[in-house]
Symmetry: C2
């Protein structure tokens, strides 16, 4: 299967899981939305549970976003998010917003997001309030991802990524560097 | 109707519009989700179009968020968002994320968001890239709103709002103040 085909199936799956209770989602419905057969999905992903696991997995996103030394981590994370969107027309993180609300599967997706993304940043932080600061770093990234998804022809989506990183990266870096309360 | 009843109807409406194409949404379905009668919705809001107009209106949010002088606007916007969530168990902005995707009504909601929220900040900014900076300011707020909605018992949702404003507000203020490229 092509990367584009795989992405189309995952996007259709994400839409289905976002819009319906888990029990109401069917492979047939996802297949119809993606323009493929249900048997193709089974062949490449397995069943509905396995497809959900892929949609709810943020381990790759977490690894990509923290793949830089602390002194340049804020800028790196912002540039990674922007470049991923431009290359894939999708966002590394923002699908988690659709996991707000009731349901065991949504709670599982939120928990995985916390463990795989927020934790990846928290593990890099010294000083006070590292859990809180990590959550706020990821909040900055979620917001940028959401804005790029919403305003696809807006100034942030079309500006030079380096300019956006100049303007947006310091917010993250400030939270990464902040260890003034701790004695080293 | 009580404020709580009104909020329940608006939340049910938002869920319906987020999950279905506009044409598929029915007042009957929204009423069932909200636990009220369709006639009560008609009495207080009018029809489906009017209900959508309320959900897609961000003018109050825009006004609340910019109700401070520029030198304290970043902190004000962050505190306003946090306090609104704690008082209303809802978010001023984050429902716009569900307007990503296809459909005339979703596009209209995104456009209103741009005009009523991003524009409210852009009108306050001097210097270069004011449209871009305004979009990034609102991105910061969207991300915080999304994180608070997702991690309702997490550190950001439970911390002292003043501490969150200490950590998160400077990101917005930096974008508000940034006019180094312009000669004054």
């Amino acid at each position: 299967m092509t990367d584009a085909g795989r992405q189309a199936i995952l996007r259709a799956a994400w839409r289905a899981f976002a819009r319906q209770p888990y029990a109401a989602v069917t492979l047939r419905g996802i297949a119809a939305d993606a323009g493929v057969s249900a048997s193709l999905i089974v062949k490449h992903f397995g069943g509905k549970d396995q497809l959900f696991d892929v949609v709810a997995d943020f381990s790759d996103a977490g690894e990509l976003l923290v793949a830089a030394p602390n002194e340049s981590l804020g800028r790196h994370a912002v540039l990674t998010l922007i470049r991923w969107r431009r290359q894939n027309d999708s966002d590394l993180l923002v699908r988690v917003v659709f996991a707000a609300g009731d349901g065991d599967e949504r709670a599982r997706m939120r928990d995985q997001f916390r463990e795989q993304v927020v934790r990846a940043f928290a593990d890099r932080l010294d000083g006070d309030d590292s859990e809180l600061r990590a959550e706020l770093i990821v909040a900055h990234l979620l917001g940028l991802g959401a804005m790029l998804a919403l305003q696809k022809t807006g100034p942030a989506a079309t500006a030079d990524p380096e300019l956006v990183a100049d303007l947006y990266g310091p917010a993250l870096q400030h939270l990464i560097d902040q260890n003034g309360h701790q004695s080293h």
